[in-house]
């Protein structure tokens, strides 16, 4: 996937992450944000992978076809209650965004901070885009909202299983540390019900 269609970052969202509450960023800040936006968009090499699984049973946990991954908890059960299939996806901006943020933090902590938050906003946009791609490949089926491990009662410890189910390391270069942090940093995994 390239950034096809994504030509700007949702800065309003990024400003919210940064902690601007009531106040509006001033002109100076907006200028810095524009500069960082360009750098983040240049550095981002978004990649995505998804697979569709049949839901085989949903008694104790959700059991999926052709994978070891299974999904425990009430939240996911509820999310998938009207679905016979679900889609698991992973998306990442790649390591070059991490490298950019690393450099900017040394050069000017403000720029590093802004770029970090812009990248967080961008990966969400990439996920939205990913949903469109998935939808299209499923003949415009209706999808539930995306749900990630670590949300509600779906344990974060499933992160590794999510990645293995997708072969995400070899397909998009996405890994997880022993402490369950995804590397590259700006990455998302999620499951969507297909209605």
């Amino acid at each position: 996937m390239d950034l096809n269609g994504i030509t700007s970052i949702n800065k309003r969202e990024a400003f919210r992450y940064m902690g601007f509450k009531k106040s509006e960023p001033n002109e100076r800040f907006l200028l810095l944000a524009d500069r960082c936006e360009k750098m983040v968009l240049d550095a981002a090499k978004p990649k995505l992978i998804f697979k569709v699984f049949d839901i085989l049973s949903r008694d104790d946990k959700i059991i999926l076809s052709n994978t070891k991954l299974c999904l425990p908890g009430h939240n996911i059960k509820n999310l998938l209650k009207d679905s016979n299939r679900c889609c698991v996806f992973a998306a990442t901006l790649g390591v070059s965004v991490d490298a950019l943020i690393r450099r900017l933090e040394v050069e000017d902590i403000t720029l590093g901070f802004i770029a970090d938050n812009l990248a967080s906003a961008l990966i969400e946009q990439v996920c939205d885009k990913t949903e469109d791609v998935i939808k299209e490949s499923l003949d415009n089926a209706t999808l539930t909202p995306r749900f990630s491990c670590g949300y509600g009662d779906l344990p974060l410890s499933l992160q590794g299983d999510f990645l293995s189910a997708l072969d995400a390391q070899s397909k998009i270069g996405l890994t997880v540390t022993d402490t369950l942090i995804m590397m590259p940093r700006k990455s998302v995994t999620a499951v969507l019900g297909i209605k």
Binding site: F29, A99, D108, T179, L180, I181, P184
Partner: protein
């Protein structure tokens, strides 16, 4: 049969997909393929036998992913599986095929992108190599990180004598996931002495053709091409290209120099049969790349086909502020020097950290790792100590320049072998036991001697850059032309690239920049390829740019115009004459803040400026932040502005040998297992703004290192950061160890997942919710 014998054939055939074959034979989803060597050896042997029958000359043992990281939790070690897997493969291969140990990436990202250190990666690979006695070839496949791959190749070279072949996995954009491009891959790996280089996996042949073309432009070794059968369908999982089409598309790789061919995911024995049938109608077209002088990082190759700038600023000689940074382990300052030179136009950065009182070897490794994490410029490793050079060469991610060897026997004997081993380029200084010869003729002879010695070790002449040595014009005026004449002869008669430190020429003279710039231009016209200069001085980097333009190297003046047209940089600064320090700081206007501080220093004491100007501004920002009038971004912006003032003040203080600003020394670290460090870095900058010395141990820091540093440096206050619930244990453990080994340490903690209650529970003395509170705490502890 050996690989060398096999390579005498036109083409060498590898196998096809392994995992996808196992799946089609009934391997269950989620099952670990390497465990089948134990649980279902027949299935494994069936796949290999099918490939042997299809005509593969080299088959992979089922060892992909057989490292102790990926095996953790299975109850098995590489030692349990690799010898068995190799014997299965041997049994199938018989005398028909060679058996390769198939080595995958470890499975976690290597530094700086991830938490696995280079040394850990080496150990994981070494463990596998030590079990691979029965293999004929070590094959590193599907590699995406040049750094990790370098660790693997070194592990193989140092622990066995089998031929090594490597293929990396490229995306459509011609880069691997970690940003490696074909030129950097080839430049680095050829130097490390592997037998073949290429690509595998990711895409079908057609989509990888341009990558193969790019590899063949630089690579003089046999090229491996082992693509997928196109792309898998995300719903049905089937691959898109038929065996016949695959063979046809692969045939297009022949003119590009493909020699060792096979298939990856989605390909089957049928694909190998078709491939072989198609290739048998063709002859091998050996690629004959141009011989380049080139150095590279993991992602950027610098070809020395026209003069390139080596930045000289990462060097303590004559720089008090730099010495201070080295002694205090202030890596950020060193990194800022790298960034500044990179943006000023340096192509390569010289790195010298030799200083009495500093462990040069440890510091060199630390600095190299830090610099390569924030810039893609290739580095020149500058030390007189071969041990330091070797340590740096190991951890460097790419092909660096070694600075330097000279004509002395001792130097030749100790430096050249390591240059060869790590495949670096080397600077040869034209001096020997008798010092620097006065006459150009004698310097030329030393250059020749260095060339000959390097050649006997197999170091190609493209990798030798001769430094004819600049003497100061004020002391030895006649020496100027001797240097330049020697340079010209080395270039013309020996055909070697030349390098020269320029700034020394003007020592002792007034208007040094004028002399330097003119000498630089003279040297360039005499054939200098690599001026070592301060690129931040516009006249110097500008002279190189202008030379490249006038000499016709800079085609259509493209680079020159890009450097000077400056049209798309938005004006970020306003006129510093009419704004106050407070305004500049609060708006993060760094260059204005610097100018105003410099002006103030003309009439006021540095410490007065800190206490009477800077801190009140920060206090005011902090107060407004607390009251919710401004928010975190504005606080950070002010911190950036204040940081710029501070740098000016520190420079002034170290020049005049005055007491430092330090109000107290503090350790900061993100705990083991956690890699979120932006919050910690914000706290660091703000503490520094208030005049505290921060020892920043970075992220993912082991408790032992934190404790050791606190004890060695006698630190009273330690700040720990964690952002994940999964890393709070490490925080607790760190506090426990600190309290045991140094009970008087005060520990404060912060980070998104912490609360005051939890902080108390894990034994922290304080919790702060943000950078402002951290400063308040420091004030309380140090009483100022």
């Amino acid at each position: 049969m050996t690989l060398t014998e096999l390579l005498k054939k036109d083409f060498v055939y590898l196998d096809g997909g392994f995992g996808t074959m196992l799946q089609s034979l009934g391997m269950k989803p989620g099952e670990n393929p390497v465990l089948l060597n134990i649980t279902d050896p027949d299935m494994v042997k069936k796949v290999i036998s099918l490939y042997v029958d299809a005509g593969s000359d080299i088959v992979c043992a089922n060892t992909f992913g057989c490292n102790s990281y990926k095996l953790s939790g299975t109850g098995y070690t590489p030692e349990d599986i690799i010898p068995l897997a190799l014997s299965h493969a041997k049994e199938c291969a018989g005398s028909k095929a060679l058996v390769a140990l198939d080595v995958s990436p470890i499975g976690k990202l290597c530094e700086p992108n991830g938490t696995m250190t280079f040394e850990e990666a080496y150990e994981y690979y070494r463990e596998q190599i030590l079990c691979a006695d029965e293999s004929d070839i070590i094959y590193f496949a599907t590699q995406t990180d040049l750094y990790e791959l370098k660790a693997g190749v070194l592990a193989a070279r140092e622990n066995c004598d089998k031929p090594i072949i490597c293929s990396m996995t490229f995306e459509k954009n011609g880069r691997t996931f970690t940003g490696c491009d074909p030129a950097s891959m080839v430049t680095t790996l050829e130097g490390l002495g592997v037998s073949a280089i290429g690509l595998n996996c990711s895409l079908g042949p057609k989509d990888l053709k341009e990558v193969v073309r790019e590899i063949s432009r630089y690579c003089s070794l046999p090229i491996i091409v082992k693509p997928n059968a196109g792309l898998p369908d995300p719903v049905t999982n089937s691959y898109s290209i038929s065996a016949a089409d695959f063979a046809e598309e692969m045939a297009e790789m022949i003119p590009l120099g493909a020699k060792i061919v096979g298939g990856c995911c989605g390909t089957t024995p049928e694909y190998i049969k078709e491939l072989k049938k198609r290739f048998e109608r063709e002859r091998y077209c050996k690629n004959s790349p141009q011989k380049n002088s080139a150095v590279c990082s993991y992602s950027k190759t610098v070809f020395i086909s026209s003069p390139k700038i080596i930045g000289e600023r990462i060097n303590p000689t004559g720089k008090k502020r730099f010495k201070e940074a080295l002694l205090q382990g202030d890596i950020d300052y060193i990194l800022s020097q790298a960034i500044e030179q990179a943006s000023a136009g340096a192509d390569i950065l010289d790195v010298n950290v030799g200083l009495p009182g500093v462990d040069e070897k440890a510091m060199m490794v630390k600095v190299i790792k830090a610099i390569q994490s924030i810039t893609e410029l290739p580095l020149q490793i500058d030390s007189t100590n071969p041990e330091v050079l070797e340590a740096a060469l190991r951890v460097y991610n790419g092909k660096p320049i070694v600075n330097s060897v000279n004509g002395e026997e001792k130097s030749l004997a100790s430096v050249l072998p390591i240059v060869k081993k790590y495949g670096a380029a080397v600077v040869g200084l034209t001096l020997d036991e008798n010092g620097i010869p006065k006459k150009s003729h004698d310097r030329f002879n030393i250059a020749k001697k260095i060339l000959n010695r390097a050649n006997t070790l197999g170091i190609p002449k493209e990798d030798i850059y001769i430094d004819c040595l600049t003497l100061t014009a004020s002391a030895e005026q006649d020496g100027v032309m001797e240097t330049l004449n020697a340079l010209k002869r080395v270039k013309d008669e020996l055909g070697l690239k030349t390098v020269l430190g320029v700034s020394n020429i003007s020592f002792g003279l007034p208007n040094r920049p004028l002399v330097n710039q003119n000498f630089l231009t003279m040297a360039l016209t005499h054939g200098l390829d690599l001026p070592i200069i301060n690129p931040n001085i516009e006249g110097m980097s500008g002279a190189v740019r202008a030379f490249n333009l006038l000499r016709g190297y800079d085609k259509n003046s493209k680079e020159f115009i890009a450097a000077y047209s400056n049209t798309d940089t938005p004006a970020l600064s306003s006129n510093s004459n009419d704004i106050s320090l407070s305004y500049a700081v609060l708006n993060g206007l760094k260059s204005e803040a610097k100018d105003i501080t410099k002006n103030m220093l003309l009439s006021r004491e540095p410490l007065d400026i800190v206490n009477e100007e800077l801190i009140p501004v920060l206090d005011k920002a902090g107060e407004e932040f607390e009251k919710g009038k401004i928010f975190l971004p504005q606080l950070i912006l002010a911190a950036s502005g204040a940081q710029a003032c501070f740098e000016v003040i520190k420079n002034t203080l170290s020049r005049s040998d005055q007491t430092s600003v330090s109000k107290g020394r503090i350790i900061l670290a993100t705990v083991k297992g956690d890699i979120h460090d932006i919050g910690k870095n914000i706290v660091k900058v703000i503490l520094q703004n208030y005049g505290y010395d921060v020892i920043d141990l970075g992220k993912d820091v082991a408790p032992e290192l934190i404790v050791q540093t606190a004890v060695d440096e006698n630190i009273k206050l330690v700040g720990l950061s964690a952002l994940m619930t999964t890393t709070l244990n490490a925080m607790e453990e760190t506090i426990k160890q600190l309290k045991a080994k140094k009970p008087d340490t005060i520990v404060w903690v912060g980070g998104a997942v912490l609360t005051p209650e939890y902080a108390k529970m894990i034994g922290a003395d304080y919790y702060t919710k943000d950078a402002k509170e951290s400063v308040d705490l420091a004030k309380k502890i140090f009483g100022c």
